[in-house]
């Protein structure tokens, strides 16, 4: 009980808790449970992707060949870098280093923004190549030659999943960026202390989770069945 904090009105403590330790424990369990629901959420679409890939293997491999592995790999590195800066900002919050916390949070946002920018370039390419299901689906030339053997209809299914999965992931990134901005504003006011840094850690866990989703998306969509 050496570093047990039990102040009547400790900073950041909500009334329903007895002490800050209990609040910190509850916050951590809460975010882990939330991540479990996220795993089930993404799990549904991953399972559907796996089933259709198994049904229509040639079409799905054709789809994978069209994706730009270099851009995907760059994005993987960018995102892993953002996880590093996120971890460093949590560490800085724990040690009470306000300036470093803010700096690493902003770095994380910049890397997250870079990821979304590169993703935007990739989405743009799909419109140029006319392989956006339903909205602009008229593959031609080399792209058509790649997709035709597996059947165009089934290739369209691949790109539906490509946009649904990367789109959901990008949506989670955008929400994460909003949370990071909120943390920056709070951290600048000195809201976090070595005794109270749960929000930074909670958002950090969320950010790492979104990163891990990409770590599964990248091989599933870009790598397996590819030609190198």
């Amino acid at each position: 009980m050496a570093d047990h904090v039990n102040l009547e009105h400790a900073t950041g403590m909500a009334h329903q808790f007895e002490n800050l330790d209990q609040q910190q424990d509850a916050d951590m369990l809460g975010i882990w449970l939330f991540l479990v629901t996220e795993i089930m959420f993404f799990g549904g679409v991953f399972a559907s992707y796996a089933i259709y890939r198994w049904f229509y293997l040639p079409a799905f491999e054709g789809g994978s060949h069209i994706l730009d592995i270099r851009l995907g790999a760059t994005n993987t590195i960018v995102l892993l870098g953002s996880s590093l800066t996120m971890a460093l900002s949590v560490r800085s919050a724990q040690t009470g280093n306000r300036r470093a916390t803010v700096m690493f949070l902003i770095l994380t946002m910049i890397l997250g923004g870079a990821f979304l920018g590169i993703k935007g370039v990739e989405y743009h390419q799909k419109f140029v190549e006319h392989i956006v299901p339903s909205l602009d689906w008229a593959p031609e030339g080399k792209v058509l030659a790649e997709l035709a053997p597996g059947g165009l209809q089934h290739a369209e299914l691949y790109f539906i999943f490509y946009f649904a999965m990367t789109g959901l992931h990008a949506l989670h990134m955008i929400i994460g960026m909003g949370l990071l901005l909120w943390l920056v504003l709070r951290a600048r006011k000195g809201a976090f202390t070595p005794h109270y840094f749960a929000p930074v850690e909670v958002v950090g866990l969320y950010w790492h989770f979104v990163d891990i989703v990409w770590i599964f998306l990248f091989p599933l969509l870009y790598l397996i069945g590819g030609r190198y």
């Binding site: 909500a14 009334h15 329903q16 808790f17 007895e18 209990q22 424990d25 509850a26 369990l29 809460g30 449970l33 939330f34 479990v36 629901t37 996220e38 089930m40 959420f41 993404f42 799990g43 549904g44 679409v45 399972a47 559907s48 089933i51 259709y52 049904f55 229509y56 299901p133 339903s134 909205l135 059947g151 209809q153 089934h154 369209e156 299914l157 539906i160 649904a164 959901l168």
Partner: protein, 544 residues
């Protein structure tokens, strides 16, 4: 000396109901007890809407050629009845009302772990509900509550997307509720309240919450995919475009079968509390009953394929799903046997909550046993898609879940409102509901066995007698539901003031005032006894 001036004005002590006044104090409250009441009012509204759809259906089926509406309208009636009753009444019923009210009180805490998320969950629920109501008014939906493709995709000409989005949104309210309960039960138990001293209602809430957080996200992603298919006219589940309609059914039932346990487990928790209290005995086999809740939650995730025996699912998958469905009957039966064993040599009193609990045991047993008919491959081929199924799941969801909800409302109403309701009327209503329920749904078992298919606006003339019986029963049932609604509202103003512990029950919620103060407890209680220490409680009374 003027005595009139000195006479103290009688003022009710401060409690959560009179702590603040005005609509803002309700719509922006973070108090779990007030949020429970917000939920109580909203789900009652949805219950009345869902019940009116049912009433129209039963009037329609009074005669073989249909009394009231065209088949298209009838399709919308049974669809909306299912969607409103399941997603907007049954799933939130006990967890969001009684669970919200009681979980912090039972663990001896001042509130749930995340009060703001709790309020947010109610707003999400309301937004989802309004979406669905809007769709109902704007043209309805006719897919059945299951949204099966291709009814909901290729052949859909109704407001499928709006309703599906409404259900999608509401799902997040149940995820937040489940998350809040699990964290609260893990991290906020009062000193001395070990896992095996917890009331069984908390065990049931814990198991329910597990299903909520593991299952609901899968429903969300399923509806997300359905919405993409619908909005962009692509073929995720449409066989014409390379999709697989069976995948939709797999994903849908992966949530929606466990969702049945979201509806029944909380009722089982309520019944455990009531049976122990009105038998003045500790629940027989406490640990086994506790673990059976968790077992139901776990096994419940492995049986979804029994909804698909007559689809294109492989026979071997069918065999495994059949076996697993039989396994889930074991923990359910354990509970029924343990409740009856608790009654044995108990000192039983038949107050209204006990009547509901006993009714629950009988009706749930019927519903559970007829479920085994449907879990058997061979009989399911005959019974699938008939009124037998309708009767079976109404015995579980109405005979089980609603009886449990009403039993719980009668048990904890003195705590919630601080007032007593008329016991005679309550007992009368319980009996009326039991009779009305059986008259409504028992004939449907027979109808289904004789081969009357569900979801048709017409039927052959030979089925009329049984259908008229069912409609008559529904009228009795409707009256039975109105009586408690009336005396509960009456009691809020005119009911006698309730003491702290009107039933002489154990449990932390009975040690604080009725109604509790906003902080629940003046001082966080310390637990020194097992749950349901009724014999110890009796001794204390006898000694002094």
């Amino acid at each position: 000396m003027s005595t009139a001036l000195l006479e103290p004005r009688v003022q009710a002590p401060r409690n959560y109901l009179n702590a603040e006044y005005g609509w803002k104090s309700w719509l922006f409250t973070l108090d779990h007890k007030r949020i429970a009441l917000l939920y109580m009012v909203s789900i009652t509204v949805f219950f009345l809407i869902g019940a009116s759809f049912a009433a129209l259906m039963r009037i329609q089926l009074l005669s073989p050629q249909g009394e009231l509406v065209q088949p298209e309208t009838y399709n919308k009636l049974f669809t909306l009845h299912g969607i409103v009753m399941i997603f907007f009444f049954l799933i939130p019923s006990i967890p969001a009302v009684l669970g919200n009210f009681l979980v912090p009180l039972m663990v001896g805490a001042r509130d749930l772990a995340f009060p703001k998320l709790n309020l947010l969950s109610w707003y999400i629920y309301v937004v989802g509900g309004l979406f669905t109501l809007f769709a109902a008014i704007a043209g309805g939906v006719d897919t059945g509550w299951t949204f099966y493709t291709p009814y909901s995709s290729t052949y859909s000409n109704t407001q499928v997307t709006a309703v599906a989005v409404g259900v999608f949104i509401t799902g997040f309210s149940s995820i937040l509720t489940g998350l809040n309960f699990i964290v609260t039960i893990h991290k906020m138990r009062a000193p001395g309240l070990t896992w095996f001293r917890m009331p069984l209602f908390l065990w049931a809430m814990y198991a329910t919450s597990l299903i909520m957080i593991l299952g609901t996200p899968v429903l969300a992603i399923t509806i997300f995919l359905l919405a993409i298919e619908h909005l962009f006219h692509v073929g995720i589940f449409s066989p014409a475009l390379g999709g697989d309609p069976l995948l939709f059914q797999h994903l849908f039932w992966f949530y929606s079968h466990p969702a049945v346990y979201i509806m029944i487990l909380p009722s089982m928790g309520v019944v455990s509390e009531i049976i122990a209290c009105f038998s003045r005995k500790r629940i027989f086999g406490y640990r086994v009953v506790a673990f059976s809740s968790v077992a139901i939650a776990v096994l419940g995730f492995l049986v979804w394929g029994h909804h698909m025996f007559v689809t294109g699912q492989s026979v071997y998958a069918g065999l495994v799903f059949s076996l697993l469905s039989f396994l889930v009957a074991i923990p359910s039966a354990i509970k029924v046997f343990n409740w009856t064993s608790t009654l044995y040599k108990g000192s039983i009193s038949y107050d209204a909550p006990m009547l509901y609990a006993l009714g629950f045991i009988g009706l749930f047993t019927m519903g559970g046993l007829t479920g085994l008919f449907l879990a058997s491959l061979a009989t399911d081929v005959h019974l699938n898609g008939t009124y037998f199924i309708v009767a079976h799941f109404h015995y579980i969801m109405v005979g089980g879940a609603v009886m449990g909800y009403l039993g719980g409302m009668h048990f904890w109403w003195p705590k919630i409102s601080g007032r007593l309701y008329p016991n005679g009327w309550a007992a009368f209503a319980a009996v009326i509901i039991f009779i009305g329920f059986n008259l409504t749904f028992f004939p449907q078992f027979v109808l289904g066995y004789l081969g009357m298919p569900r979801r048709y606006a017409f039927y052959p003339a030979e089925f009329q007698v049984l259908n008229v019986m069912s409609t008559a029963g529904a009228s009795v049932l409707g009256v039975g539901y109105l009586i408690p609604l009336i005396y509960f509202i009456w009691s809020m103003r005119y009911g006698p003031v309730a003491p702290k512990n009107p039933w002489g029950a154990t449990g932390l919620e009975w040690q604080t005032a009725s109604p509790p103060t906003t902080e629940n407890f003046a001082e966080i209680p310390v637990v020194t006894q097992e749950a349901y220490a009724y014999s110890e409680a009796e001794q204390e009374v006898n000694l002094g």
